[in-house]
């Protein structure tokens, strides 16, 4: 094949992506070394001052980061367990199979912020159906204004929204599995639980790892849900990294400082996701 042509296929996409991205990333790095804010808009050079402030004098950022880690790990774990169970349930014979499959996919097709607006009315503390139900037992939990419960509410909404994505990837995986190992297990007289532990789960390990990592990447950006549901509140109880950077950058207009935050956040994200991916691969492949 003529090798001159291969660049004509690759380059348009690559150049467009690079062209759109190079400036923002370079600019973020440069901006993080400046004190650009609403009083002094301009690119001066203040060295690493922003980074020093970030590492020595900004507990709120690190709290937000811990909260984000907790949120992403919890939600992705729940999504994986629920998504895998649902996929297993509608994998084989079940009545109304197609109906359930479509239904389980629907939440991921809906716009997260818009469903969150609905969830806000759903969890409304005096007018919503959830507390209408709980009031039967004489309690009215503060779903959105109690600092611990607000986090639970965010988790519930995230699980509702994104379990379907896990379900989709895992069901697609289940449907592509070869039949022979299952036949062999049946001949050996394995029951459904042993079949799952010794056949299905190991076969699904690579797909599971992929699905978990994709979801972790997406979950690490949680921001829309928090913005609409609680605006990071009460206080800073549900503030995630993205949301904190958003407040510093586009509410308080501390562009320089928020660029330093963004860049640090990006680096931490890349490093931790790489480590998590490596650990997951080790854990799940060894369990075979």
């Amino acid at each position: 094949m003529n090798f001159k042509h291969k660049y004509l296929f690759l380059l348009p996409g690559l150049l467009v992506l690079l062209g759109i991205l190079i400036f923002p990333i370079g600019f973020t790095v440069r901006l993080s070394l400046s004190s650009w804010d609403s009083f002094f808009p301009g690119l001066d050079f203040i060295g690493l001052e922003n980074y020093i402030r970030l590492f020595t004098d900004d507990l709120r950022f690190w709290e937000a980061f811990l909260r984000l880690s907790f949120l992403s790990i919890t939600t992705v774990f729940l999504q994986y367990v629920i998504g895998f169970s649902l996929a297993l349930m509608v994998w084989k014979e079940i009545r109304f199979q197609r109906f359930f499959r479509v239904l389980f996919l629907i939440p991921m097709m809906t716009t997260p912020v818009i469903m969150t607006v609905i969830w806000r009315t759903f969890f409304h503390e005096s007018l919503g159906p959830v507390n209408d139900f709980f009031s039967l037992f004489g309690v009215t939990p503060l779903w959105l204004s109690d600092e611990h419960l607000a986090l639970v509410t965010v988790i519930i909404v995230e699980v509702w929204q994104w379990t379907p994505f896990m379900f989709l990837l895992l069901l697609a995986g289940l449907l592509s599995l070869p039949k022979e190992p299952f036949l062999a297990a049946s001949i050996d007289g394995a029951g459904p639980i042993r079949k799952f532990v010794y056949v299905t789960f190991p076969l699904m390990a690579p797909i599971s790892i992929g699905a978990i990592i994709i979801r972790l990447i997406e979950a690490s950006k949680i921001m829309d849900t928090v913005y609409v549901l609680t605006s990071g509140g009460p206080g800073t109880a549900t503030e995630t990294s993205s949301f904190y950077i958003f407040i510093k950058g586009l509410r308080e207009f501390q562009f320089g400082y928020s660029a330093a935050l963004s860049f640090t956040y990006l680096i931490i994200m890349i490093i931790s996701l790489t480590i998590i991916a490596k650990v997951l691969v080790k854990l799940m492949i060894r369990s075979n």
Binding site: G13, F23, M109, P112, V117, T121, S176
Partner: protein, 282 residues
């Protein structure tokens, strides 16, 4: 034993279904309420619990000057931006994916897998990191608060998805078909266009659906990069939320916005059952 197992399975499936449907039913019921039936506490069934009113739906069709809610224009904006950005991403992404799947590239230590990873890894980038430079960059180019600016930004969001799905897909299309086409006298472009593309339609559809989903449901960039001139649907609806909250029109608007992509769930399920998706999603 088997009976217990089957009962539990149906119970679990039905419970989850109720959880999935609950917010939709609540929104549907709320959209027919008026001021009194919303502020009087939670009510559910029309005619029994409350007297239904069509106010929430009528407001959607009125212009803002008459006290209506402006969602018709944002609706068309959303469709235009999503479709244009998806189309551009699919075209560029498919070409790049084809190159990465068929040819070998080598520039120093950078090889095919590294280029593929570069494309896909853009999904790791948190939107907030790009938002401030994009804000300044589009401002300088005069593209802030315009549909063009949003399309440019959405290409960055969507192209990685297109490349991710299409590379996997092309890897499963046998190489022999392009080789046969080349031997038959096609040049590489004809081979791609006349032979490989027609064999890749399932992959293209899946990639297109995913681009549409992620484009249509994005809120953050539309929220930051537009103000008054153009508004996308999610932004328009969230803006309703911050005012005095007329729950009835809010619910009606939310349902109208969410409806078109629910059709996508049916199409995705079709592909899933036929086994076409497992090749495209890995």
């Amino acid at each position: 034993m088997r009976l217990v197992y089957v009962t539990l399975k149906y119970l679990a499936v039905c419970l989850w279904s109720m959880f999935v449907i609950a917010p939709f039913l609540w929104a549907l019921s709320t959209s027919f309420k008026d001021f009194n039936s919303v502020t009087g506490g939670a009510t559910y069934i029309p005619w029994v619990d409350f007297e239904p009113s069509l106010e929430g739906w009528r407001v959607l069709l009125r212009s803002p000057a008459q006290g209506g809610v402006n969602i018709v224009e944002p609706y068309f904006n959303s469709i235009f931006v999503t479709c244009s950005a998806s189309l551009i991403s699919i075209i560029l992404g498919t070409l790049a994916a084809y190159a990465l799947s068929r040819f070998t590239f080598k520039a120093g230590f950078v090889k095919n897998n590294d280029i593929t990873f570069f494309f896909i890894s853009q999904r790791i980038m948190p939107p907030i990191v790009l938002s401030i430079p994009f804000f300044i960059m589009l401002g300088k180019l005069g593209l802030l608060d315009s549909l063009m600016g949003l399309i440019v930004v959405y290409i960055v969001l969507l192209m990685p998805i297109a490349v991710w799905i299409m590379v996997d897909f092309f890897n499963k299309v046998p190489k022999e078909i392009d080789e046969t086409a080349l031997i038959d006298g096609c040049n590489p472009y004809q081979a791609f266009y006349k032979v490989v593309l027609p064999n890749s339609i399932p992959g293209l559809i899946v990639a297109g659906l995913f681009c549409m989903i992620f484009g249509w449901t994005d809120f953050f960039f539309a929220f930051i990069l537009t103000f008054t001139e153009v508004q996308l649907l999610p932004v328009a609806i969230v803006a309703l939320n911050s005012s005095i909250t007329p729950w009835w029109s809010l619910s009606a608007a939310a349902l109208v916005c969410v409806a078109p992509l629910i059709v996508v769930a049916f199409i995705v399920e079709r592909y899933l059952s036929k086994g076409n998706l497992s090749g495209a999603l890995k």
